[in-house]
Amino acid sequence: MDFNATLIGEMISFAILIWFCVHFIWPHINKAIEERQIKIAEGLNAAERAHAELKDADHKVAAEIKVARQQASEIIDKAQQQANQIIDKARGEAITEINRLKASAQDDIASMAQRARDQLREQVGALAVQGASKIVQREVDASTHKALLDQLAAEI
């Protein structure tokens, strides 16, 4: 073991190294590490928050979809009801129209039949008068026997 001035020189340089490390190395790196730790913690926090928000939004969307679906089905129901009403109304109108047409046609038929009957009656009356005049061999005065003839026509 040969101790000499090397010892003291090395002690001094060791002390200088320690001093350098204390002042110029450790604080800077330590600061960076601590700042990064904070950053990472913040990042993790933010991620967690975003996750929760996403979940929230999902819930909201689901609820809104549910509401929209309900509204849509309501609208469809209403539309169907409206369509049914329209159809019913149209059917009613058509039926009244048909009835009306049928009634007027029946009126026409009745009036035409009446006319035909009247004509027939007149002609029968005339024929009857002709027949009768042939039978009595003389002219029957139509005007004298008008009342009689009219009665006859009404009876046919």
Binding site: T6, E10, S13, F20, P27, H28, K31
Partner: protein
């Protein structure tokens, strides 16, 4: 390299001789220029490497260099945190300096044992020992500096009165008859710290260096087939010991750092 038989002793002695100034090859001022140079170069290297990374250290995504430096720092900080529960603004950097510097100096052992001497010989310097921690001056320089810090922190944490009280009354008791035994025991305990710290590191590195030299002696052991067989054995031995030594240099640096932390945190503790 020694070539003739019996040259191994000479070879090893040659390699165990420190580089000293020619003006004073003996005595107090025979400074080991090799130890001082290598340790200072490594110390500056450590400072530069870590300072450059520290200067540009950001909280953002770190580069690989910054990540490495942070890895080392957090490792050391974790060790300090485990042992010492207080302000780490001094003890942390101290432990970092001890760890990295001792590791770098130990790592010089992994250079081929003849490399640096061979290079310096080209410049006309005959003796050059590459491993500063295999120089007892180096290890004691560190352990004595730490010893001074132990004393300083003992006074700082407990006050002069408190520290004196502890020296004389712990561990046996406060009875006046026990003052002297207490004090003697405490002095032994105190002095054993720097001695064991320095001797452990020195012994490990010195022995490791010596084994490297012995193995390296195989390379010039002889001629012919036997010589070549020994040469092969030398290569294998050197490789195996080198691999094993990687473990040793790390462990020794780690032990030195942990004991430094333990001693200084003990100085903070009250009995």
């Amino acid at each position: 390299m020694a070539s003739e038989s019996g040259g191994l002793t000479e070879y090893i002695q040659h390699h165990l001789t420190h580089l000293r100034p020619q003006a004073s090859p003996d005595g107090f001022w025979a400074v080991h220029i090799d130890s001082v140079t290598v340790s200072l170069v490594l110390g500056v290297l450590f400072c530069l490497l870590f300072w450059l990374k520290a200067r540009k250290a950001t909280a953002g995504v770190p580069g690989k260099g910054q990540a490495f430096v942070e890895l080392v720092l957090e490792f050391v900080d974790g060790q300090v945190k485990d042992v010492f529960h207080g302000d780490r603004r001094f003890l942390g950097p101290l432990a970092l300096t001890v760890f990295v510097w001792v590791f770098l100096m130990n790592a010089m052992d992994l250079l081929p044992v003849d490399l640096l001497p061979w290079i310096t010989e080209k410049f006309g310097v005959g003796h050059f020992r590459a491993v500063p921690t295999a120089d007892i001056n180096m290890t004691f320089a560190m352990s004595l500096t730490i010893f001074v810090l132990i004393i300083f922190y003992s006074f700082k944490a407990k006050g002069a009165g408190g520290y004196m009280h502890e020296l004389f009354t712990a561990p046996f008791g406060a009875h006046p008859l026990l003052w002297i035994p207490n004090f003697l025991l405490n002095v032994v305990e105190l002095l054993s710290k720097p001695v064991s710290l320095a001797m452990r590191l020195f012994g490990n590195m010195y022995a490791g260096e010596l084994v490297f030299m012995l193995i390296a002696g195989l390379f010039s052991a002889g001629a012919g087939v036997a010589g070549w067989a020994l040469y092969g054995a030398g290569i294998i031995g050197y490789t195996v010991w080198g691999l094993f030594h990687i473990l040793i240099i790390g462990i020794q640096a780690f032990i030195f750092m942990v004991l430094t932390i333990v001693y200084i945190s003990m100085a903070h503790d009250h009995h």
